[in-house]
Amino acid sequence: MTPAISVAGLTRRYRGQLALDQVSFDIEPGSITGLLGRNGAGKTTLLRIIAGQEFPSAGSLTVLGAAPTTDDHLLSRMVFIREDQLYPQYGGRFTARHTLRAASWFYPNWDADLAFALAADFGLPLNRRVMRLSRGMRSALGIVVGLAARADVTLFDEPYAGLDPVARQMFYDRLLADYAEHPRTVLLSTHLIDEAAGLLERVLVIDRGTIILDAAADDVRGAATSVSGTVIAVQEFTAGRTVWDRRRVGSQESAVVAGALDDTDRARATALHLHLEPLSLQQVVVHTASATAVSQPGMHTPERTSA
């Protein structure tokens, strides 16, 4: 099957600064992938290149099997919702309703009913000028366009800046519901990892322009465990294991152990009166990103240790 998005050796340089460095991955059609990473890690640059808004310095890229810059037919199967979207302003009234109307012309699968239902759910004032909308409402407008377009490849870059938690939850719910009925390829960049965790089937973690983790979300969730108890017990339990992080307060220690734990391990932990807690997706990502930031020898990404 042709990958929905295929990226190989993708590199983007800006005046000596390396925004993307040899990024490679394939995304199969019909999946929701999270693109995670810190500020300035390269998420937006990567998404802009995939959407055909920016050009790579080197490397290759195909979306639905073709280059995403010249082919109108291919482009009509892709939508890109970005946080800092600029809307047309000719000094007049380009309203939220205008935005939806314009979007409906370009997407063959546009669902107007869904668009208006979503707009009503978000409380979007359709007759207000886009530039007069609050930040949250502008995000809501982007989300409505992104979902109602029903594009085969749907790219969201931090789509919910300024949205309150209730509206964000609504976005996750409506995305999942519509995705179930109309499967498509969704690539979503976000900082709110735990919030979106339930949505994600796969995670790509990018740090300083390189992909440092590319794994199924379920694998990442079990990839590390926090072990806490007395220093002696923790030391004994963690001997010979890959430890990402150790913290000591008095006689108590807490360590993050990489790799899945089996029943024997759990029994041993119970015998040592240790408390075990699997790391959430967000915690694993934070550890992975900070591990590469420090890049100490012996620190491994879960991808390598669990392989």
Binding site: R48, A51, G52, Q53, E54, F55, T69, T70, D71, D72, L75, S76, R77, M78, V79, F80, I81, R82, Q85, L86, Y87, P88, Q89, Y90, G91, G92, R93, F94, H98, T99, R101, A102, A103, W105, F106, Y107, V145, A151
Partner: protein, 231 residues
């Protein structure tokens, strides 16, 4: 790139009609009324009063051309329009509007002529040398002039989008250099009399042809800049 996409791009530009339709005529109407009021109160009757103020609509068309790039392009690209289709669709819209607006300017010129310059010998829609002739030449020249200004505006917008302010400075400096080089070359070759002769004997149709050729060059330059513009 196909017709239906180009038509969609044109409709996209006209979602908000302010820039393309309302403002150009509102500005021209205001401009005309100001000129009319001044001339009616200041000039002795029947002394022809030439103003070049109808340039306003041409200049504003250049502004709209620039806005079509740095205001409307980013959202169009997000909606999955290719750069090529966006450029072609927007240029076609401008050409279509220029045909209609050129005709409107020709009609206004006919009225101006018939009413003896709106009763006060005002020459607002008749411009010496550029728009002096019969209505069909005025139509043709206005059409080409409006297209030229819009296409130039688009190119300015593209240069700004792609290379920001420094790029724009270089862009204008390059044009100035070209003009100065032309002047120096003409002086060295003692060609000024010949050039003067060329322009004074050039017919309105010839001038229009010259402007059309220039518009074609600008359109090609804009297209080349468009191909790698980022948003």
């Amino acid at each position: 790139m196909n017709w239906s996409t180009l038509v969609k791009v044109a409709r996209f530009q006209l979602v908000d009609r302010t820039g393309y339709i309302i403002l150009p005529w509102a500005i021209l109407a205001f401009d005309f009324l100001v000129n009319l009021a001044l001339i009616a109160s200041w000039r002795a009757p029947h002394a022809p009063a030439q103003t070049g103020a109808c340039a306003a609509i041409y200049l504003f068309f250049m502004v709209v051309g620039a806005l079509s790039i740095f205001q409307a392009l980013p959202f169009a690209l997000s909606l999955g329009v290719s750069r090529r289709s966006y450029y072609a669709g927007t240029a076609l819209l401008a050409i279509g509007l220029a045909v209609v607006y050129g005709l409107a300017l020709a009609v206004l010129q006919v009225i101006e002529r018939a009413t003896g310059g709106w009763g006060v010998s005002l020459r607002f829609f008749r411009v010496y040398y550029i728009l002096p002739g019969p209505w069909y030449l005025t139509w043709l020249t206005s059409f080409v002039g409006l297209t030229l200004m819009f296409v130039y505006g688009m190119w300015v917008g593209l240069v700004y989008r792609r290379w920001n302010l420094p790029g724009l400075v270089v862009f204008f400096a390059a044009q100035a250099t070209l003009a100065v080089a032309g002047v120096i070359a003409a002086a060295r070759a003692s060609a000024w009399p010949a050039i003067g002769h060329f322009f004074t004997t050039l017919s309105a149709a010839g001038l229009t042809g010259l402007l059309a050729a220039l518009a074609a060059v600008l359109l090609a330059g804009g297209y080349a800049t468009m191909r790698h513009v980022t948003v």
